[in-house]
Amino acid sequence: MIQLKGIEFRYEDRTVLDHVDLEITDGEFVLLTGATGSGKSTLLGVVAGLVPDYTGGTLVGEVLWDGMSILELPARERADRIGFVGQNPAAWFVTDTVEEELAYGMEQLGLPPATMRRRVEETLDLLGIADLRHRDLRTLSGGEQQRVAIGAVLTMHPRLLVLDEPTSALDPTAAEDVLAILTRLVHDLGVSVLVAEHRIERVVPFADRMVLLRPDGSVQVDEPQTILETSPIAPPLVDLGRLAGWRPLPLTVRDARRRAVSLRERLDESIQDGRPAPVDRDQPTGPPASSARSLVVAQGRTPVLTGVDLTLHPGRVIALMGRNGAGKSTLLWALQGRLGRVSGTVETAGLDPHTVGGDRRRLLSGMVPQTAADLLYLESVVDECRAADDAAGAQPGHCRDLLERLAPGIDPTTHPRDLSEGQKLALAVAVVLTTRPPVLLLDEPTRGLDYPGKAALASMLRTLADEGHAVLVATHDVEFVAQTCDRVVVLAEGEVVSDGPTRAVVAESPSFAPQVTKVLGAPWLRVDEVAAVLDEVLG
C-alpha cells in the first residue's frame, strides 16, 4: 500500500534517516521503535507528509502510495488516506466537543452531511465513546483524549493509521484500552497501523512486523522475534527470554509462562538449597524525613485527597501509583507545600511546608513538576546551574557538580532545549537539589524516556537515596517501579488503597505486576535477580 524507498533525511549538521526502505501492506500492524531522538517521529512525519514542512531539513527518496508518488503531496492532501495522530492529542484538538472533533476532518474533505452524521455515530460506537459525545475535550482523561484523537482521523476512513507514542502517557489500564482498539481496527476493518513507541512491552504482542531505527539512521525491518533477539531496546520479557535461552523469543506473557516451567523449577530448587530469595530492603526504622497524617485536600468544593497517610524515610525510593486523576500530583504538591489542606498535617524536618513560605519550602523539599522544562528559562546549562547556585546561596559550582554526578558528560554550553529528555530531567533535579533538601518529589519523570534513559534515571534516584534523600516518584511505569522503588503507594479516588514493599504490593495487583512477576510468580521482580540466581547455579 505505502512504500518508502531510499528515504534520507538530514538537518545541516546530522543525518536522521539514512536509506530507509519500508513497505506496509493492507491490514498490517507495524511497530516502529528506537532510542529517543533516533528519528521515530521524523519517519512518521515523512509518511504523513508533515516532514520536512514542519521541521525543516532536506528529504530525499520516494514515497509511493499504490505505486503513485505522493512525496510532493502535503499532509492535508494525504488526510483522506493516511490518518495521523500526534504525540500529545490534547494539543491537536481544534474544536470544543467530542462530536465536533470527530466531524472536523470530514468537514475538510467536504463529505455530505448525511455521511458525516452516519460516520460520527459509527465511530463513537467503534471506540466506545458514545457517552462522551457532548463532553468538553479539555475535561477528558488521557485515555479518553487518545481515543477521541484516533476517532477524529478514523472518520475520514484512512487506510493507514499512523500513531506517535499513543500509550506512553497513559496508565496501564487506559493503555490496554487504546491498544485493544488498534487491534480491533486491524482485525475488523483491515486498517493498517504504524505505531511508534519506545515502551514496547505492551505493543510487541500485537505487532506483525517491527521496525528498529538504529542510531545511525538506518532501519532493520523484520518479525518482532528476530529483531528482539539482538535489539538493544527490549522489554523485560525479552531480556528474560534471552537469559533463559528461549527460542523463538516469547512475545506475550502467556507464551513465556508456558516456557518458564523448567526455569521456575530451577529457581525454586536453588531457593530450597538455601540460596537467598530476592527480598525487599528492610523497613526503615529511623524518623521519617517527611510525613502526612490524614491529609485532606480539596480543589474548590471537590475533595481530591480524602485522608491520606504517608511517610517518607531517608534512603528510600517510593513509587506513587494510581490511575490518571487519582490525586497523585495533588499529593506531591501538598507535600511540597504549595497546596494548602482542609485538614490533617504535613511535616517535613519538623516544619509544616505550607506555612513556612516559598524560600524555606525549597529547603525542605525539591520538586520536579510534570514538564521539567517549565523550570528552565536560561540559554545554557551553565547559566541555569549558576542561577541555581545564586538562588540557593550554595558555593559556586555546586549545581554543576551535582549535575555531573547525575548525568555525566553534558556540554555546559548546550541550550537546555537541546538536551535529551533524560538530560533535561537531570538538570531540573540538579537545580531543585541545589538547596540540599532532604526530600525529592518527582511527578511522572519517566514520560518520554526510553529504556536506557529510564535505567539512568533509576540509578540516579538510587544514588540520591543512598546519600540520604527520601525520594517520592509518581509514575505509571510498572517496570520502572520494579527496577527502582523500595515501596509502592497506590492511590485511588484520593485514598491510599495499598501501601507496602514493592514486591508485596505489585505481586498482588493485576495491572501493576511487572512482566517478570507475571511470568515467574511472586518473589521475582526483575531480570537481574533471576540472572544473579542462575549465575550462582551455573557456577
Binding site: 504523513a48 507528509g49 508533515l50 514542519y54 502535503p74 499532509a75 492535508r76 492532501e77 488526510a79 483522506d80 490518518g83 495521523f84 500526534g86 504525540q87 494539543a91 491537536w92 484538538f93 481544534v94 474544536t95 462530536e99 465536533e100 466531524a103 472536523y104 476532518g105 470530514m106 468537514e107 475538510q108 474533505l109 467536504g110 463529505l111 455530505p112 452531511p113 458525516m116 452524521r117 457532548h134 477524529a152 482521523v153 475520514m156 504538591w333 511540597q336 504549595r338 516559598g358 524560600d359 525549597r362 525539591g366 513538576p369 514538564t371 522544562a373 517549565d374 523550570l375 528552565l376 528559562y377 542561577a387 541555581a388 545564586d390 538562588a391 540557593a392 537545580v431 531543585v432 538547596t435
Partner: protein
C-alpha cells in the same frame, strides 16, 4: 397560554445569527433613546432573556462580567459629571469644595456644587452606554462565539478557522502561565520584576510556540486548507473581481467624502465596489469544498427572535420620531412615558416564549427507561440470598 399542550420544545442550539440580530436590535433601540424608563426596561428585558435562555457553556457565564462593566460605566459617567460639574443652574443637591485651577484651564471647574440635573444627565448617558454594552454581552452569552465564526461565508472559511483557534488559545495560555509560575516557585532566585517576567515568559512562550506548531500540524494532517479543484481561470476571475471591488470602494469613499468631485464618483462607485466584492466572495467560495456537520437551521423561532428585537428598535425609533420628549426627556422634570413606548422594549421578550431550551449537560443525558434502569441496578444482598 400555549395553544396546543402537545407541542414540546426540544432543546437545541439556536442559530447564532438570530441571537446577534436580537442583540443588535436592542443596542439600536438603546442608542435611540435616553429615557430612563425605556433604558431600564431594555436592561431588564436583556437580563431576563439571558437568564432564561442561556445554556451552560463557558461563554454563558461571561454575562456577569458585562453586568459589572455596565455598572462601572454608569458610575464613571456620574462621577465625571460631579467632578467636572460646578454649574449653579438647577437644584443643588450638595456642595463640594471647588478646586481652583490655573488661568490656562479657564472654563473647567473641578468639583463645586453638584446639581440634580447634572447627575441625572450623567445617569441617563451612562444607562444608554450600559444598555448597549449589555446587549453585546447578551449576544456573547447566548450564542457560542465559535459557532458564529463558523457561519462566515465559505470564502472567509480559513480566516474564520484561524480566529476560532485564536479564541481557544487564550485559556490554554492562562493554564500554561499558571503551570510555569508554580514550577518557577520551585527554584529560588531573586524575583525582580524584569527577571521574574522573563522567567515566566520564556517557558510560556516556548510552550505556546510548541503548541501552535503541533496544532498547525494537527490541522494540516486532518485536511485543513485542502486545495480542492481549483482551475486557473476561476482563480483569475476571482482575483479580477476582488481588485475591482477594492478600487471601486476606494474611489467611491473618496468621491463620497469629497464634495468637489462629481456626484457619479461617490455612491455609484461605492455600490459597484460592493457588488464586485460580493461576486468575488461568491466566486472564491465556490472553489471551497467544505461541508458543515450538523449546521443550525434557520427556523421559525430564529425568525421570531430576530424579528422581535428589530421591531423593538423600529418602535423606539417611531416614538422618538413622533414624540421626542418621550424618547429624550429633559432632566428638569420627571420623564413621561406612553403606552406605545412602554410596549416597545417588552416586544423583545419574545425569545422567552419561543426560544427552545438551550442544550445543557443535564438535558442532553437521556434518562434510562425505568425497567432498564431497574435491571441494571445492583442487586441487594437480600435479593442475592433469595
Amino acid at each position: 397560554m400555549s395553544t396546543s399542550p402537545k407541542r414540546v420544545r426540544f432543546p437545541r442550539e439556536l442559530h447564532p445569527v438570530a441571537w446577534w440580530t436580537w442583540a443588535v436590535g436592542i443596542a439600536a433601540a438603546a442608542s435611540m433613546t435616553t429615557s430612563p424608563w425605556l433604558l431600564g426596561l431594555l436592561v431588564a428585558v436583556t437580563c431576563l432573556v439571558v437568564v432564561s435562555c442561556r445554556g451552560d457553556g463557558p461563554w454563558a457565564r461571561a454575562f456577569k462580567l458585562y453586568l459589572w462593566l455596565a455598572v462601572i460605566t454608569v458610575v464613571i459617567r456620574v462621577f465625571f459629571r460631579v467632578l467636572l460639574g460646578g454649574s449653579e443652574v438647577g437644584h443643588v443637591l450638595f456642595r463640594l469644595p471647588s478646586v481652583p485651577l490655573p488661568e490656562w484651564a479657564a472654563g473647567i471647574q473641578l468639583l463645586g456644587p453638584a446639581t440634580r440635573e447634572q447627575i441625572l444627565a450623567g445617569l441617563y448617558d451612562g444607562m444608554q452606554l450600559a444598555c448597549i454594552l449589555l446587549a453585546f454581552g447578551a449576544a456573547n452569552a447566548l450564542a457560542n462565539p465559535k459557532r458564529l465564526l463558523k457561519v462566515m461565508p465559505p470564502a472567509l472559511y480559513e480566516i474564520g478557522s484561524a480566529m476560532v483557534v485564536a479564541v481557544s488559545v487564550l485559556p490554554q495560555l492562562v493554564d500554561s502561565a499558571r503551570r510555569v509560575k508554580h514550577a518557577q516557585e520551585l527554584r529560588g532566585g531573586e524575583p525582580g520584576r524584569i527577571r521574574g517576567l522573563r522567567r515566566l515568559l520564556v517557558p510560556v512562550l516556548e510552550d505556546a510556540f510548541d503548541r501552535s506548531l503541533a496544532l498547525a500540524a494537527g490541522m494540516d494532517a486532518r485536511g485543513y486548507g485542502r486545495a480542492g479543484g481549483t482551475d486557473p481561470k476561476a482563480r483569475r476571475v476571482t482575483g479580477a473581481l476582488m481588485v475591482t471591488a477594492l478600487l471601486g470602494t476606494c474611489v467611491g469613499v473618496y468621491g463620497f467624502l469629497d464634495s468637489t468631485t462629481p456626484a457619479w464618483i461617490g455612491l455609484p462607485m461605492l455600490g459597484l465596489g460592493a457588488l464586485c466584492a460580493v461576486l468575488g466572495m461568491a466566486s472564491a467560495g465556490r472553489r471551497v469544498q467544505r461541508t458543515r456537520y450538523r449546521p443550525e437551521k434557520w427556523q421559525q423561532a430564529e425568525l421570531l427572535i430576530a424579528g422581535s428585537a428589530v421591531l423593538t428598535a423600529v418602535l423606539v425609533w417611531w416614538v422618538g420620531r413622533t414624540s421626542g420628549s418621550i424618547a429624550h426627556p429633559g432632566v428638569e422634570v420627571l420623564p413621561q412615558i406612553t403606552l406605545l413606548a412602554l410596549c416597545a422594549p417588552l416586544v423583545a421578550l419574545v425569545p422567552i416564549l419561543v426560544a427552545p431550551p438551550a442544550p445543557t449537560v443535564a438535558n442532553r443525558t437521556v434518562p434510562r427507561s425505568a425497567p432498564d434502569a431497574a435491571s441494571r441496578r445492583a442487586r441487594t444482598p437480600e435479593e442475592v440470598a433469595r
